[in-house]
Amino acid sequence: MAICPVRNTLIYLSDLILSGSLTDPKARRICEQILHLTEEISEGAAGKDHLLAIDSLIREYLTAADSKKNLETGKTLEEMFSGHREVFESHIQTRNCPSHDCGKLAPSPCQMACPAGIDIPTYLTLIARGEDAKAIEVIRRDNPFPWVCGLICTRPCEMMCVRSRIDTPVSIKFLKAFAAERAMSEGAYKNPKKKEWNGKKVCVIGAGPGGLTAAYYLSLLGYGVKIIEALPVSGGMIMVGIPRYRLPREVIDREVALIEDLGVEISYNTRFGRDITYEDLKNEGVDAFFIAIGAHKALDLGIKGEKIFPKVLEAIGFLKDVALGNHHAPGKQVVVIGGGNVAIDAARTALRLGAEKVSIAYRRSKNQMPADSEEVEQAMEEGIEFSFLTIPKEILGKDGTITGLDCIKAELIQKEGSDRLMPVPIPGGDFIIEADVVISAIGQYVDDTGMEAFSQMNWTRRGTIEVNHASMETAMPGVFAAGDAVSGPATVIEAIGSGKRAAEAIDRYLSHIPQPRTPKIPVRHHMEPPVEMTATRKMTLKHPTMPMLNVDRRRTTFQQVELGYDEEGVRKEAGRCLRCDICRRCGKCIEVCRDKMGIDALQFGYMDFDHPTETDFRATEKKCITCGACAANCENKAMVLEEKDGRRNLKLCGTLLNSQAIQYCEACGAFLPSAEYLDFVARKTGDKAKRAETRLLCNDCLRLLSAKTNVETRPAGLK
């Protein structure tokens, strides 16, 4: 047992729930709620009302207790919370566990980086072992769209991947897509069991990633969910914003279908406030609203000619039209204005529709482009022209037809008092890009039409819905919001993360449980044993290259560009994971081996966060004597010394660092250290160690022997 009472209570409650001994559903529900609140206390995410809520849950439990056993459990819980009240309080106030017990399950950097908090090391391990369906199950605990995200996620996880300090980050994103595709094709991609309908109804406005995610988790929790969608399709921006060559429609449809299978009802072509009103829904018995309307309105360019020509398009509208089936080329010569992912998407889409020449005009240089570098590269490969340091001035044309875009060349200058490089026009740098279509992609904002019904809700100066981010609650009770509608244009995974957070908060709101003070820190659910492999394999596994569709086809069709790794590549790639959920890279092993033992066998340069040096797992066996001091000092048991099949093996998260032959006690056969280890001892004791006994004996046998010698050599009178 841990020293920390909070941790002990957590262990007690989870054992209680897992043991299946709580047969009364009410008792079980109360215990689950207490567990949930205690988890937040342990993570430092609890507010001041948590203990009061727990107290009242325990009272409820005791009142409802119908058996002696339940009564005892209730009493035990009561004692746990009252007996160490001050420790619980200090966890809430200081968000610190003095005994560090509550930090033991600290998530890996990749999981912490994921806005949805997916347990990445666990699912990578499952994928490495070929357990794709199980991996999908793990992902869907935090994200109902593993396939979609496997193809288009902005992957902050990979940016934080510790493996990149050795060579390149693990290709976390795509491995998800592979597992989802494989599980789907095998019919093993299934929904978890949902709870019985609890009689409550939630209305979700917008069938985008945020809305669908909230719908998924709410219906699993037993809520009736109705989604209102203005478009004729579901998916929101992932359907109408992301082009098909990056994300095939079938992928979205299959994952949305699974959410519909849970009983989620989606009303298409229904605009909130026009086709259905707040009152209509209230009358239908909706208990809570969740607004996930995204940010679908484009910003104006604010240049001359913008409002005159019909062929001045905004990227979001253009992409939406194409996604909904309009496959006519917008024109022959297309100029896209902007430097973000939407600009690239619009340009590549225009090219695929048959535009002869497509260029992108961007105010700054290539390095400052906010778009994904892979996207920019792929666009260049396809023949999109880039005109950097280009400020659009005026759209030229006559009789309603565009003839070109008048631009001015800029240079980047650091203005006084600012550390930001600003594009400043070069005098006389005017030039014209010939074009018959101009597409603007300079950002979107939230379209608030129809939202008047939520009168008590506040809007920020950025035109987004104001919420408390811990719970995604708006100022209007029972109304929650998330996704781009709250953050402004952001990423899919953020919308998913905030949708999940909102679902949890709506559940709390409707169960009268207080909301957390801070957004939940990702939590590990369990620990998968690591994949075992040799140090050489761990070091030499290389990131596979992504096979791509040939450029001719990329220029002419909407076929998927990235074709995906083959199975062997996927399993190997998943095996590159360092399991940072087990090894927290505290560096104690290195310190003990180098500074205390004076051996210095561990070359784990990647563990130094700020100044990584060279890493080579293969180097360990050169100096290591398998003394096990590193393992004895590893708090998380990431480093282990095992004795198996006559060998002493040193392993770090499953990677075999060294293996030496075990020696045996010549009297009793007990395990003794390796010859290399005994050499080390002999070198230290030097010539002093000329023992009378030449046999190799274990500790116990040595004691026995000296006791015997003691008796045998005693003077006769004392025997």
Binding site: M112, P156, Q368, E466, P519
Partner: protein
């Protein structure tokens, strides 16, 4: 300040922006990385996505961040 993806940053102060919430006070002094800067127009006023050591991933106003090496 213009942030780019992958920049190492520190939350150096409380932001004056309305989007700053009390729980964000816990972030002051913490290091992290920019995971998603403003993806369309490099707007210095936009909220940008940062992944903070031990605190998860959040969208913060840019005036509370400073780049570190």
């Amino acid at each position: 300040m213009q942030f780019q993806k992958g920049n190492k940053i520190k939350v150096c102060r409380k932001s004056e922006d309305e989007s700053w919430e009390p729980y964000m006070d816990d972030f002051i002094g913490i290091h992290g990385f920019i995971t998603d800067p403003d993806t369309s127009i490099n707007d210095p006023d936009a909220l940008i996505e940062v992944s903070l050591e031990g605190k998860g991933t959040h969208r913060l106003p840019q005036d509370c961040l400073e780049q570190i090496n």
